[in-house]
Symmetry: C2
Subunit: 278 residues, 2 copies
Amino acid sequence: MGCLSATRSKAIHKIDIPALDWPMARFPRYKYPLEDYVHENQQEDAKCLEETEDLIHKYNAAGKPVAAILVEPIQAEGGDNHASPEFFQGLQQIGKRTGAALLIDEVQTGGGPTGKMWCHEHFDLPEAPDIVTFSKKMLTGGYYFKEEFKPPQGYRIYNTWMGDPSKVIMLEEVIRVIQRDRLLENVNESGDILMKGLTTLQNQYPQHINSTRGRGTFIAFDGTNAAKRDSIVNKLKLQGIHSGGCGDKSVRLRPALIFQPHHANIFLNKLETVLSNL
Amino acid sequence: MGCLSATRSKAIHKIDIPALDWPMARFPRYKYPLEDYVHENQQEDAKCLEETEDLIHKYNAAGKPVAAILVEPIQAEGGDNHASPEFFQGLQQIGKRTGAALLIDEVQTGGGPTGKMWCHEHFDLPEAPDIVTFSKKMLTGGYYFKEEFKPPQGYRIYNTWMGDPSKVIMLEEVIRVIQRDRLLENVNESGDILMKGLTTLQNQYPQHINSTRGRGTFIAFDGTNAAKRDSIVNKLKLQGIHSGGCGDKSVRLRPALIFQPHHANIFLNKLETVLSNL
């Protein structure tokens, strides 16, 4: 019930489930390319931070104290929306001022796809987030947290397997392979090629795509509208490329950590084929 | 939040968690040995069923309709409380009359320890329960249900792994070994030896233990009081036997499916050593 009160991505998940009165603050929506909209995007950060702090004060004053700020480092289902390190630093400060914990949801971003083990490592936060949730590449649903968030009483949080040890054993092997095969370096190399190639393609086909953004291989771009986006996703499939839609008109790329530079070039060639025939 | 609203076993789990207003009906508390208290226990069944139906009507009338009856086939944490097949048949009828689904929680009992794959198979229910939950011996938390409980909309219930396939692969092997090694037969043989031996011991040491009850190797007995129970559990540990307390004064046995007749005899000898030295 808590999860479904927090999610905002698909209405179908929430049908008939009672929800808690938890406020949602706006996440920045940047204009791209970033270098052309520095001032506008800084204003967007400031506006979203101000709204967030106002909402917390409003709920606290109404006797519904805000216990935590939940945020994705890249708002994924919502359309691969990115925000600046300064935005996340601002959120952490708001948490400290208002007594709300900062929970960073790394379910999609954790485990390497952004080129660091945790996406929030890109944000130069003065201190670690209070709680970090993970899943997907990390094999099991879990979270880590600052010592002060550990309940002092024994058995307060309890389950049969105390953390799913069989999954942790598998995860140890995953992490060993990430290190052995230098997969984070691979992600950064492949991601650079994707970002450069997509930037070239969006300049070449501005009537079809724009707003390329990403970290590592965790990359998205927008179609000029929803129909264009759907058409690109479908035609990529016919080329043997599986991509995903997210948000209103975005295409997101979620390759595995073993996606290498030559795979990136295959993708870019196929995408160019699709765009040149739209 | 739903789980914690349903559980009644340990207060420590529920601290600071808001709970839903879900009524709890009494589960029968039988007098043992059963053959000496047939009439009393039938009355207890009738009383608990009547209270359950009254509670449902009361909540339905108050605009808080009862969606489901949740019941363990053996109330485990609560003290290994058993109820008759007739009690569970009565619950199923109440569900049908009032429109509440019957959910049987086989988290502790499922997967073989009662000598059948599912404990509710002991109850001769005219039809299957509506929903059955499982975990522990089944390796992953899950449930199965009647077709009519499947949401008609796609993506209504959704998660990344759609059912934890790596655990299902391991479970297939577990089930193969249960069948290959006839482990349910083994459970029944070992359970018979335990039940007979414990019945003999409770007749021999009525000042220490009583109320032996169980199905398969899913067996419990009571100490004459909480201190006696704790003493038995502790002294068994010194004999190399791990048992568990549950309820106010019960000792529960939860051996693995590979617990064989000779293990049962080892246990009974050690328990006799403990009882004769209390």
